[in-house]
Symmetry: D2
Subunit: 352 residues, 4 copies
Amino acid sequence: MNVNTESVKGKMKALRKLRPEKGLDLVEVSIPQVKPLEVLIKVIKRAICGTDLHIYKWDEWSANRLKPPVTTGHEFYGEIVEVGSEVKHYKVGDTVTAEMHVVCYQCYQCRTSKAHLCENVVILGVDGDGAFADYIAVPEINLWRVPKEIDPEWAAIYDPFGNAVHTVMAGETVGKTFLILGGGPIGIAAIPVAKAAGASLVILTEVSEYRKNLSKIMGADYVLDPSKEDVVAKVKELTHGEGVDVVLEMSGHPAAIEQGFRCIKKAGRYSLLGIPAKPITIDFAKDIIFPGIQLQGINGRRMFETWYQMDQLLISGKVNLKPLITHHFKMENYKEAFEIGLLGNAGKIILE
Amino acid sequence: MNVNTESVKGKMKALRKLRPEKGLDLVEVSIPQVKPLEVLIKVIKRAICGTDLHIYKWDEWSANRLKPPVTTGHEFYGEIVEVGSEVKHYKVGDTVTAEMHVVCYQCYQCRTSKAHLCENVVILGVDGDGAFADYIAVPEINLWRVPKEIDPEWAAIYDPFGNAVHTVMAGETVGKTFLILGGGPIGIAAIPVAKAAGASLVILTEVSEYRKNLSKIMGADYVLDPSKEDVVAKVKELTHGEGVDVVLEMSGHPAAIEQGFRCIKKAGRYSLLGIPAKPITIDFAKDIIFPGIQLQGINGRRMFETWYQMDQLLISGKVNLKPLITHHFKMENYKEAFEIGLLGNAGKIILE
Amino acid sequence: MNVNTESVKGKMKALRKLRPEKGLDLVEVSIPQVKPLEVLIKVIKRAICGTDLHIYKWDEWSANRLKPPVTTGHEFYGEIVEVGSEVKHYKVGDTVTAEMHVVCYQCYQCRTSKAHLCENVVILGVDGDGAFADYIAVPEINLWRVPKEIDPEWAAIYDPFGNAVHTVMAGETVGKTFLILGGGPIGIAAIPVAKAAGASLVILTEVSEYRKNLSKIMGADYVLDPSKEDVVAKVKELTHGEGVDVVLEMSGHPAAIEQGFRCIKKAGRYSLLGIPAKPITIDFAKDIIFPGIQLQGINGRRMFETWYQMDQLLISGKVNLKPLITHHFKMENYKEAFEIGLLGNAGKIILE
Amino acid sequence: MNVNTESVKGKMKALRKLRPEKGLDLVEVSIPQVKPLEVLIKVIKRAICGTDLHIYKWDEWSANRLKPPVTTGHEFYGEIVEVGSEVKHYKVGDTVTAEMHVVCYQCYQCRTSKAHLCENVVILGVDGDGAFADYIAVPEINLWRVPKEIDPEWAAIYDPFGNAVHTVMAGETVGKTFLILGGGPIGIAAIPVAKAAGASLVILTEVSEYRKNLSKIMGADYVLDPSKEDVVAKVKELTHGEGVDVVLEMSGHPAAIEQGFRCIKKAGRYSLLGIPAKPITIDFAKDIIFPGIQLQGINGRRMFETWYQMDQLLISGKVNLKPLITHHFKMENYKEAFEIGLLGNAGKIILE
């Protein structure tokens, strides 16, 4: 119980989607009032997700999902400044990040260790007010304490880093060969995770020079460019003709998905995280049934197995995220930050 | 070591594909000579598989795979009449059936508990001489001893029964709800297996009246006819709106596969055994990634986990295959047997 | 949100441990006041657990654990009569039972799908006020909705039934042979669970005639009496000399534990639920290491995988708990009920 | 089929146990004649196992197991010089090592992916003639091809390295904290394996200065000396009071086994490989049941999952075994080699 905390009141800046159209506005709003089981966090670092870029552009997905006005942003690091009356495990001054999927803890998925697939999820920064603001209110049960050993900027990207860890860890990893399709920030983050998790070979495919270079810096054994090389032939060569044990699909591109089926070993694991824009045509017999492939959809982060894994990978020094964080902006320069994000020549972009 | 067995010599009848065209011929050939690690089996019961029907019809798959002349048939029960010089674990008089996938025991799949996906498999009755004959030679390592408690006709269908058991058992079963798409012999065999394995609800979809009736006899809780009912609505109703935990695809039909995606619960298991004739278009985002579906290709039978499971399910009385065996013919009346098989109004057809 | 419920106030009867000595007292106390995330339940059925017998007797474990005064009882079924201000998923009139392990949802165990091993657990009826009263207050997150199809008395014993289901389901079950050591209520409940979960053979050992008889009624294939039979020899005979796949230890007796090691197959699963009073001497080399045994401690029920399994096993009709409930008493006749429980000639005893 | 190989005939040197007493003799015997499914291997490197030291000393275990005369040794690397008439996958000139457990491929364990627990195993070098000779005959199905990238001396110790890999890999590893009890060659080999497999912390306990030093060289994060430090207190300190996720017991010492129970986290994995000389007394309730511990016996190496893992760990450079190989002797100086082995101040000892 935390009886003595004073309520934080007043106004704050927030980056909000106000109207159903392109763009965001940096406006002044009231600081959120915490409920009994919530804490109020002063946000110190924020990071831009691909989802935020969709919201900024106001594409079809955003138009169907968001109900403006809403404060955006779901990747952050901050410090607790107020705790609700029933909060038991955190106190003012604790440094935290949070799982922004607010789940119900009563549906079948929540009650069988799959809360990341909750039937009633509310995502803060999408369905509710998010972290691109001076303060954010978050339920205690969603908080993740950030140990001192972890760089605050790394803590700010636990959400996408968690996507990478969840995808890599969705099956066996030790002594396995990996093909990662797509070098966006999550695909790139998956490189050191796979290696730390025992992968004996990590190949990544990407066409952007910027991202190819970043993938090499982050430790990929081979970076193949599908616009210049025969990916399937090269993967087969690198795996003695057998193909890889694990394919991680991080691009959503139909051509890449097809390459994955051509490059995977019999009984292999094919984990899908990238979201294709359209349906895809697959030869079930040849590509899944006869070779006994395990195709799996990956969504969110395991609550909270993935979070412990992230801590351990970073604290032990097995994964270094420093090169992945390529840009820093003040929140008021958000337009410049979002435009760079849309161009794609970036790793993770931090909003201070 | 078996030093005293005499060699069985002479001629025998065999049902062979002699030419690349429709039909089979019942001809006289030499009894096979056993190699040091093989046994010779007098075949007592045989059963017709869907694969045999393809071979009989000489469809595209058969034309690409078979190299006539070859003796057909891979489902059987028989008695050992001769053992090779290096055979150690079987003797003349033992009653057996066999896994007809002759595998290499040296490839990656064979050496990591996935011999059913062997890179170098030879299937007797398809790639080599099979069981539609008076005698067959089979490697010792492929034999399965048939306990006395098991009906010889049930032993003769361990191959397709094993497909059903392998598919049901490819994930959790206890207290799970199942949807089986397609009421061919394997789909129907999966009904009592799922129930014996703890399924709390088994729904099967099928259009043929004959097979719908047989599915009910074999214990399906509900048999839905997609030509007459709204399968998705009915499955949702039967599962309190949640969908089923497990879908077993046994039909290969695109419409059924689509229904499976509509009927499956988040994080559900979707096991594919039926072979679609053509590629299929799937909405990866909506049908696999967001709901976290596990899609898996199933092939053959686990060697020999599945076989032990079959023994236990039958010996314990948990599964009764009697209603599934609907027709009996003498081998010389094979044409009639195959024509009935092609019409589809049959469970399993035995050739004596 | 439930804004219109009126607060239930006044006095109620409760069966309490008032002093650190043998016995319980039925006294009048205030009806509990619900907190924002709790509900108040009118208790309709209660059941006596072995733990309650320990508390009644005031043995060493009780003396170390309990801090009187406390209301006892953790097995019950009831109806919600009041909901706290933040309760979202339940309403007045809902029929429920509950997981009485109130866990923290913040420790490593809670956050990695093992809340049944919470580092900070408070057990209602042991560490906090329990269900042997007219009313009980329980956190919403601990509630389990009781479907209409389920008999209220069965719902009242979900706690021990859940121990049985958790133990049976702690590894593979389908087509496996089981040996259950000890025919107390949990051991007996494990019989139909194992069979429903696909066990091909269930053997139970017990010395009490009453319990041996009840075990047979509940479906054991064989009930062996270690005081009259050579259990090891008989188990070996029933398993063709191989031993069983799974041993469930439900007795806590050193002699039974030793028999388990003698009866288990190589690579077998040995699940321990019964609590031995003293340390036990084991030959690690011969009994665990060379045969590759998996020995596992089982505690509580998985939250809430086990609870879904219980619902499914009962609703589907696969498990029938009726014979297990052998006695009924009014709460005021609790002394008689506890004395019968201590004698052991009983299945589950209900307090109305 | 290999029709043109000539038979290798004549005499060779072999290190044999000739009489039931201490010591071995280097004598001349006939080169083995290969059977149809065997190959003859010219042995190039051999390594001394702890088992060989037991055989040399002729302790109780050896006296019960061995039937002299027999050629010792089961760790080796060599080149095929002759292949049997039915051998299909290897040819003269191939460099190989071998799994020396010759298993039946017909028992329940062999046929369910647990051949390392075969009911009918014959171990070459213990039950049959082994590798401490110029030549050895080995069944084709037991061979393991040694890739060029792997140092022949590393290939010669795949047997004990495989014990280490099997033990580490018997559960989850990524982001887990490990305590290894005992710094013999297998315990020390487990250090880099655990780290390559994603362990975030590896602590080893050992009293010998030689082995403590070697453990540090091989990458242990902490090496604790139970004769000088409070192991339990230190492990708790290093794990923030929680204990480790995984304990690997490699010593067989009762005091170490007890320390393992004191240091392990709830729900932890406790893998036992070290062979205690006598039965051990355990508090089942406190040490296994309440904390939900998974205690598992480990034996041999998985055939051949472990072998692929070894290849991948070494070829990828994730594990370096060089520091572990500390001594080299010619086979004729075997006495000196065995005496150094018995003293314990050694990693692996190679016989050229």
